[in-house]
């Protein structure tokens, strides 16, 4: 029975969903329980999932469940990034949630389900699977964004994210319908066969479909002009959720975008490269310019994540072997440094809340030099300043763009990163060059989980900074993907 074969490809996801079900069951046994054991169960589920995924690295590429999912090295690499985001978010969450009385089993169950949606999206090789997994990860995130029900901003973030997210999924689904109409299948490999020489695809329908799919996936990856939800959702959501959204969703969305565009419709490359390059330019330039005028640090980091989506998209436009490897390395570093930066925002507490306004950061470097230096390091990495991992990630992306004759894209992106460097460095200047206000003790959050998470982020960013070649080599080994 071919359908049943290789269901073991799904073991990492089964571990995540199993963890979520276990959490719901223990909550049903004793409703509304709280405590650190919930986070511990979540961590166990994520680590188990990671171990199970690791064993698939050495396996040959397999197609499972009737071609719905594919077990390949690319999928394992993307899963590791996503599981890393889930792991780090779970480490940072307990202290934050506990302060606000939100450390409930539902939160962790939703986190696990959302992670399962993301990892499944990264291994989907069928558009139906892409749609369902995007909905799985989004539905959980909509609720998580609004988890702080008492706070107006959180509710509002949830509502805006939900309405625009559902709107975008409708476009994605309509795109899938047209792919089916044009090729008679939703399987990515069969779509490739039908759109190649000798296939029977109706190219008018497929062209329209690819545009609609790009809208849906571009929304999830937060590319301009489909980014409108990002600043609001990132600013309003509880910060651990923001960190998770920024890291995990982007990795999953780009894994899916790579599979759909590069794997299934490479024959239409000449049609989608131009518009996607235009979106890329729009994203990096627009996001960098808007970010300069932000005074809320979470909102500024949201615009930063939008501009980073543009950088990854450059690698997608390149659509080459080195481009995909560069995208994977970029997503790895991006996830570590963004979660690190949001982790630092959680670290700088202000009474019961956190410091989000830029003015509140003045003098942090004088009072808390180590923590401020850590934050500055993540910001410099986000800006792409040389010794950090962020620099090498950008370097590989530009290199891939130049090699595939998109040098102009690289030039525009370099210009945008100069603008972007301004607002990253400005935070460092505020922290180190300005006098601290009187009477502000600037206490730090002392939770162990947050510290471990920050240390892990730092480790990844430094490791990529020191040995970028090793990670690029690893990413290249994950290629070519396929079924």
């Amino acid at each position: 029975m071919p359908v049943v074969q290789h269901w073991t490809v799904l073991l990492p996801e089964l571990a995540l969903v199993g963890g979520a079900i276990f959490l719901l069951l223990i909550d049903a046994a004793k409703p509304s329980q709280r405590g650190p054991h919930l986070a511990f169960i979540t961590l166990v589920a994520v680590v188990t999932s990671g171990v199970l995924a690791f064993f698939q690295w050495s396996h040959p590429t397999t197609s499972a469940l009737g071609g719905m999912v594919v077990g390949d090295k690319f999928g394992v690499f993307a899963r590791f990034i996503i599981l890393g985001a889930g792991f780090l978010a779970t480490l940072t969450a307990p202290a934050y949630l506990h302060r606000r009385g939100l450390d409930r089993a539902e939160f962790y169950a939703l986190l696990l389900l959302s992670t399962a949606g993301m990892t499944l999206l990264a291994v989907s090789s069928d558009l139906v699977m892409v749609f369902i997994t995007i909905e799985l990860l989004s539905l959980a995130l909509y609720v998580m964004a609004g988890f702080e029900r008492g706070r107006l901003e959180s509710q509002e973030a949830s509502m805006k994210y939900f309405l625009l997210g559902a709107f975008a999924s409708a476009f994605l689904l309509y795109g899938i319908a047209f792919v089916f109409g044009g090729t008679g299948t939703t399987n990515l490999l069969r779509i490739r066969a039908e759109t190649s020489l000798g296939g029977v695809a109706d190219f008018r329908l497929v062209g329209l479909a690819v545009a609609l799919l790009a809208v849906g996936l571009g929304f999830k990856a937060a590319m301009v002009p489909f980014h409108m939800w990002t600043p609001d959702a990132y600013q309003g959501a509880p910060t651990p959720v923001t960190a998770f959204m920024a890291g995990g969703t982007k990795a999953a969305a780009f894994a899916a975008l790579l599979r759909v565009l590069v794997l299934s419709v490479p024959e239409l490359r000449w049609d989608w490269q131009g518009p996607l390059a235009a979106l890329t330019v729009l994203t990096v330039v627009f996001a960098s310019i808007i970010a300069v005028s932000q005074t809320d640090v979470k909102r500024m980091l949201a615009y930063s994540s939008i501009s980073h989506a543009g950088f990854v998209a450059i690698a997608v436009v390149a659509a080459s072997r080195s481009g995909i490897a560069a995208a994977l390395v970029y997503l790895l570093v991006y996830t570590a440094m963004t979660i690190g930066a949001f982790g630092c925002v959680m670290l700088f507490r202000d009474g019961d809340g956190e410091r989000v306004h830029l003015a509140k950061y003045s003098g942090l470097g004088v009072r808390r030099p180590a923590a401020a230096a850590l934050f500055a390091f993540f910001l410099f990495s986000l800006a792409g300043i040389p010794p950090t991992g962020g620099f090498w990630a950008k370097w590989y992306v530009f290199f891939a763009a130049i090699r595939s004759h998109h040098a102009w894209l690289a030039i525009v992106a370099v210009g945008a990163s100069v603008i972007a460097a301004f607002f990253y460095v400005r935070v460092a200047v505020v922290m180190f060059m300005q006098e601290p206000p009187e009477g502000d003790e600037m206490e730090l959050d002392s939770s162990v989980g947050l510290k471990i998470a920050l240390a892990l982020c730092l480790l990844v960013v430094v490791a990529v900074g020191v040995a970028p070649g090793f990670f690029l080599h690893l990413a290249e080994k994950a290629l070519p993907f396929g079924g």
């Binding site: 049943v4 719901l24 909550d27 049903a28 131009g274």
Partner: protein, 118 residues
Amino acid sequence: MLASYLPIAFLLILAGAFALVSVTLSRLISPKDPSPQKLMPYECGIAEIDPPVERFPVRFYLVAMLFVIFDVEVILFFPWALSFKSFPVFSLIAMSVFIFMLGVAFVYEWRNGGLEWD
């Protein structure tokens, strides 16, 4: 390739120009003689003070949400029943897992008081 987008660009310019010309022309040509009566929303009667209030029976929505989920999930049983003979063992296991998950959701909802009307 990119040249094939030229008609779209042309259409955009045309649309923009049309909007601009018609708005400017109507500004220039139209007679203007405003009076307080003309600016009121209604000729007679009193303008609305507030928009009409919308009613949300919250309890009803909670029950409706829970109902919709469990009601619609049943759709999945139809294709399963039709294709059961093709792979009996696998589909039985798969459907058991699915029903187990629905059961977990149900137990969770029940224990958290989602089924109590008051």
